[in-house]
Subunit: 504 residues, 4 copies
């Protein structure tokens, strides 16, 4: 018995997210990858490799659509890319030289299985499959409008809104229809679409979400990060530019800039946490930026200590930078387990800090009797940090000094990062001293916004025209937030529209 | 890892069907059942029971949508109803007093898993779920038109066309939108729809497909056959009439006849093969009709013989009628196995008639040395019949006289019955003597069309206004066949439209 | 994740059985089939076909062991034979020209998955796989003895006891070891064993359980019933005789009779209920015996009525016999559904007799206003019968006369039939009039023991040396019941031994 | 359908191992954990946590047996501990305060699923479950002997041999039976057994395999490593001593030393590779030993270079030691992916080093133009190393200097480590210069045996009585290798015994 979908719950559109109580990490919702123009029937295999490298951007579900002449083959799965698309029968199951894929965090419950991408539509101009990383800030506004016009939705994903906009465009050519749709959406996005004859890539006007272009033999590749190109064996050509639409077909690559020019403003959190350390994002090595964050942190928040210990894996480069700058030895004082163990039963005694212990184990031999500088990439709610701090103390540390390699997180995101509400963000609700006390540390330090800009290679933040998307630290959102505005000014909305609003 | 769908192949819309080479039975595509107004959270359980009784109308996939206040819960599964919806957690998984369900034959390959019903749409007037038995004869015409207007399809099912027509209706009230959609569709259909506040049932203008209305305590029930009402424990109220729309809500039942009155013309094959013998269809006992078919057959095609043997289970009532009329003893000369065994490997020797033997085993003790009258409900391609005849002879029968309780099948169906193409129908391609020789029988007889009408309680067929849908025997189709006409007059069509045509 | 076994619970050995509350049928625990000497790698496929035909003897689990030169391949599954062994890869998965298989009812819970046969052991003389139908009456006695000597058991099956007896035999040749083991076991059994060089079959000294021998080309086949030979396409050679050991190897078939000659006494319940109607058991057609039971029943318990209605499928031949003898028309007044639906939720109203309705639906059109003779093969607890009687009345029957084609069941079985305890057997606890009242029928009649013997072709029962095993009707057990005696004289047993006793 | 076991192949006993062609790591076969005396029904949950921490010792299969009064509950699964035993229903599924568990590498194919531990036997003294880490060097000798005496084996695991020895012991008490069995086995082992009243732990006479004892509230815990105690929240009491048997029951802990005293000789590979860095094995911090190995390596094999890069994760501590000793900066020049991706299809171009890339990605930003010292824990066949070296060069490294933190591996293991045959070991087949050329590095260096002993805190190796098991480096096996001797002197053996010999 194959169970198609556990429950399609409607009509309320939650865009809630499921996570462990103990999991305090921000999450990015997606990674995308596409290929066009290579060897016969290799499209799906290349995209599978690319998605494998992008698995850190969303590890709970994945999908691929391949195109063979004018026939699409789409598979969408829960679970890792290797399990879903690792088999040797992939070229047979999903033939064609062109393919597009997506990897994502699954959202709550079975109700949302349909949100797995790529999304497909059979238009009168032929089929189209779309994968999307990011978030539209006018998603609900557009969705309500489309439903009122008689469109039927199967998911609550941005991609389907874009598909409907394309389907309803009156333009004759698919690229024009695609641009018609882009003209109506707002927010941060990196899109990859496949039609029988073309691959289309697009990045939002500010370049909030990343997208890179590579070459593999005769084929063009689009991917969220360069690590996907490395995995595939492709050569990095360049970043897709902010506001750019690239079209790849038999005539090669065409670059379009259909909208007025604006300055780019890529997302800083890609450097702080999301991107893989071996990726180069917007021309900057992620590993290098993180190490410089550690150097800056050591300069801004020095301390007398015996060991610098990272929270693995994301804290490692900053800890190396901190250790180098401060001269304090770097040690693997916390061991990370790579096996999942989220739902273990907690015995009634002896396992007070079980949650954190499932993933991070203190290494007593380097902590005992030591003054420890603990380096994390960021501090969100602080609930995980305090458990780690306690574990480090329980392993014998005499002092614990916590350092965050990014500034205090004060504001929620609406461009594809899954972060808690403002009232859950520790830095938005406590003074520095209250935080220190809550986190049970001897001292606490955050990298400054200016320090972060310097780690990015800038001399500082240009307040009149900030070089990066940084609202989580500054409250300075780079775009209008239409859905949010409607929600807040909700009095003039119908009940129906209200029920559709995300609670974010 | 949950695999959502094996492959969504597009854009060509085949409506092909998968079946065993040895399976010579016509197939009906669906059974439907809905309930409204009973005890809290019992809707899905009642519909599950109803579908269980309708399993013979489609045993390979099933789905239920329940409505709880304004929230829909939909599950669609491959496999039997008992496996999919038998669990004691059903009321929790699928709460609400209202539900609608569907059981169907699965169509070819994984590509069509999405065709499992009920189909759901979230309209701006609220959600709606639809289950459908039958076939639209202008399906492709409507689907092409809707795609050209920007509708996105997820399946190749009639139900989705109807949903899009409802979604695009400009009427304010859901019942009016539903009738708007009915005004555009043609063919044979029995529809059951659920909205948060109403259950709607509809039967095509000729009543080709059956639909009955029952009462279970305070609840109303709609189902394809009365056996579903019996299973549930509901009381039979009446047949939904041809061209009638029934609306059940807090105000009780409302009957609408939105279209001009026509004479009913229900499908004869429901009596010949599809409906369960304990059902009463359009006021006639199916078992009684079948027995009378056997009586008529004995009158029209008498023979000297020792035993009357049915092809179980569908040939049993006609064989009892034949035995009674002829005075020849009735015996269970063929035993039917109720275990699936379709894909067994055939050993290299000794198992010449393996295919038929998996399902039907000759009972040597009643066949040996006997002159056998073998009664089947119908003969389609003849390939199964000849295997049965050989098996009966191999078990020692001295003569085999084959009798079909229905007339020769000469024409394909377009109203929801899955039958082979005309060039596969034995009676359409051979003379009576050629058939007899092909079937390797000593004599062969079919009930006449007039005889069948008499078994239905009529004095005969009214050629100017036939009382029943009988084109498979007569070639007299009860409606226009728009898709078919377009296909045949295809010169003026675009290539695209041609590619969408069913080959039927 | 493959789950090997849900729970191995030990050390208490229950031999309990799981069944629906509504399922009132006796159950036979097994069917066996083996083949030796045919085409390369066809052994497993032939046995799979044979098991498919024997599925009625146990439909919840099945297993096959094939032998390829000196390598065994064993698979054991929950579910039907067609699901487990229907794939085209079977010859590859399970190569070899020799194979042995088993089909069984699963016993309670996951704890007993290990009891699925065939059982395999790697002896110092080479491997051996054994399949067994029946029950040892000294099972616990032997098992306790073997455990005390250091044998380790993986199951609670008789087969494993036999394997340990073979493993511990000091004889050099496998056939002698096998006979050594037979010398120690008591009860009813049909055994098929495979070693790398031989297939061995054995039937208990009284021939309680059936076993037949057939030929398929060059291969020999052993099976529980002739219907398996028919399915495979094999020719029936003869029954394996009571107390006979047949050895099939390169030198052909050797028949051994290692134990003193006794008169055969086969089980009557094979004719009453278990065997398939198209099987010939111990030289008698099962269908023929059942029809004669119906004739006898009509003679012993005539009644004025309008229709004779069988409880399908097992009551059909006796009902035909009754109808023929009495001249009352036979009608399919109860329709049997062949879809499983055991765990459906029961709605709160309208479905009082839900349990019986899942399997048997009354056919109102032949019951309404009629005096009905209802024919069942046997009446065990009566709980199912009363539900059927009520359903028949609810469908309009004016009178219901129940007839059992076998005598009253008064005693439990210890030879492989799963029947309720004596205090659950209606006939053992009520007078005839109490039963009639309990069953809510107008009259009640059972075939007499003498009538049953006459249906078997005997002139009557020879009380001094009964021709058949018939203790369920007479209390006359054909063998000693050692485990039972130990249980009843349990005062001198250790606690440990007591804990191992079956509660039967 | 539940598939119990794919194929039980017999009688040849292979103890082969399945691994990726690219996977060049030695493997340890098992981790064990047991608990006795804690809170009601918490036994299985505590053991599940312990196994989770021991997952690195065997991540492909796991099993737990719990004991509730005198009833055992056993589950054995393929897959990770978190998947198998993470559910909240564990205490219900597996009740009791006592439990024993096992985690292991799965061996080739489905044939060996039965080898998953713990193994259970129902003796006449009651049930016993055993989990075992290590390898018996007289396994085949004992197994053949037991089979000849009539024991039936279900697996090819050491544990089952031990169970049969216990079952056949003539001693009355279970602890004496257990010691009887220990007296007959040879090799390296750590055993944990549960009976209804006692938990028993044992370590081989040389303490080759590790076993530690901890306390959790009132409960005693046995585990392979201290990291399991930390995970559970238990306090470390002490190592179980070499040759010691510990018995835990209602009277507390009893220590037995049933065999003559010998000097301990624990396995060095636990420090080099197997144990988790945060474990303390035989009183030494694994992390500390590994760092000192790096220090020694820098002293023995210094080089002019720009960066020290570990092969993560096992090379990290030695690389930190090397960096510290040499003053060369430590950098994460290779990023390890934690997602499985072993069976991806390799596109035809551009992905030459795909295998290594699935797990290890070079970090170009720290490798480009740099002279790199690459630190690995050991070099086995060299096939993985050369791929890594190429990947590092492809990322722009100007020089690559490879350093192995352990001495050259020259001899196979017979105590539970899965290493290739001698003819596959690069150091056993090539000169140092041949290895350097094969590995395509600019220089190559291995830590010396003396250096390794110094890292262990010794002044050097005592050749007359070596302090550790180190035959893989020295050829000096600590015990007799009976199975091996029989194999090599195989002329006097029967054919049957020969067929049972491992090819190791």
């Amino acid at each position: 018995m194959i169970k198609l979908d556990h429950a399609i719950s409607a009509p309320v559109v939650h865009r809630e997210h499921h996570r462990d109580a103990d999991d305090d990490r921000p999450r990015l919702e997606c990674g995308v990858c596409g290929v066009w123009g290579g060897e016969k029937d290799e499209g799906s295999s290349i995209v599978a490799l690319g998605l494998h490298a992008l698995q850190h951007r969303g590890q709970e579900a994945c999908g691929i659509a391949s195109v063979n002449v004018d026939r699409f083959h789409t598979e969408r799965h829960m679970g890792h890319v290797g399990e879903a698309f690792g088999g040797s029968d992939l070229p047979k199951r999903m033939p064609g030289h062109a393919a597009v894929g997506h990897t994502r965090y699954s959202t709550a419950g079975g109700s949302f299985l349909r949100n797995i991408q790529p999304m497909f539509a059979d238009l009168d101009t032929g089929g189209i499959a779309i994968a999307h990383n990011g978030n539209l800030t006018n998603f609900l506004f557009l969705r309500n409008q489309l439903v009122a016009e008689g469109s039927i939705f199967q998911s609550t994903s941005d991609s389907e809104v874009i598909l409907h906009l394309i389907a309803r465009s009156r333009k004759a050519r698919i690229v024009d229809r695609f641009i018609d749709a882009l003209a109506r959406i707002e927010g941060g996005y990196a899109l990859v679409a496949q039609t029988p004859k073309k691959m289309i890539g697009a990045r939002d006007p500010l370049g909030i979400r990343p997208l890179v272009l590579g070459k593999l033999g005769t084929a063009h590749v689009l991917a969220s990060e360069t690590c996907a190109l490395d995995q595939i064996g492709a050569t990095f050509l360049r970043d897709v530019e902010h506001g750019e639409v690239v079209v790849i077909d038999e005539d090669g690559l065409t670059s379009l800039k259909p909208f007025p020019a604006r300055a780019a403003r890529p997302c800083l959190f890609e450097y702080v946490y999301f991107s893989r350390p071996d990726s180069v994002v917007n021309g900057r090595s992620v590993y290098g930026v993180r190490k410089r964050m550690g150097h800056g942190l050591a300069q801004e928040h020095p301390i007398q200590a015996d060991v610098v210990v990272p929270v693995p894996d994301s804290g490692v480069p900053a800890a190396l930078g901190y250790a180098h700058e401060s001269g304090i030895p770097y040690e693997m004082g916390i061991i990370r387990s790579h096996y999942l163990g989220r739902t273990f039963i907690q015995p009634s005694q002896g396992a007070r800090q079980l949650g954190v212990r499932m993933k991070h184990s203190p290494n007593r031999s380097v902590l005992e009797g030591k003054r420890v500088v603990l380096i994390d990439d960021s501090i969100v709610r602080g609930t995980t940090s305090v458990k780690l701090v306690r574990a480090v103390r329980a392993a014998g540390a005499s002092e614990v000094h916590l350092r965050s390699a990014s500034p205090p997180i004060l504001w929620p995101d609406f461009y594809g990062i899954d972060m808690p509400e403002r009232d859950q963000l520790i830095a938005a609700n406590k003074t520095m001293e209250e935080m220190r006390a809550f986190l049970e540390v001897d001292s606490l330090g955050f990298l400054s916004v200016e320090g972060l800009y310097r780690a990015m290679g800038e001399t500082g933040r240009d307040a009149s025209a900030p070089q990066f998307t940084d609202h989580y630290f500054t409250g300075d959102y780079p775009t209008r937030l239409l859905d949010r505005e409607i929600e807040e000014g909700g009095r003039e909305l119908t009940n129906r529209q209200l029920s559709l609003l995300v609670s974010a």
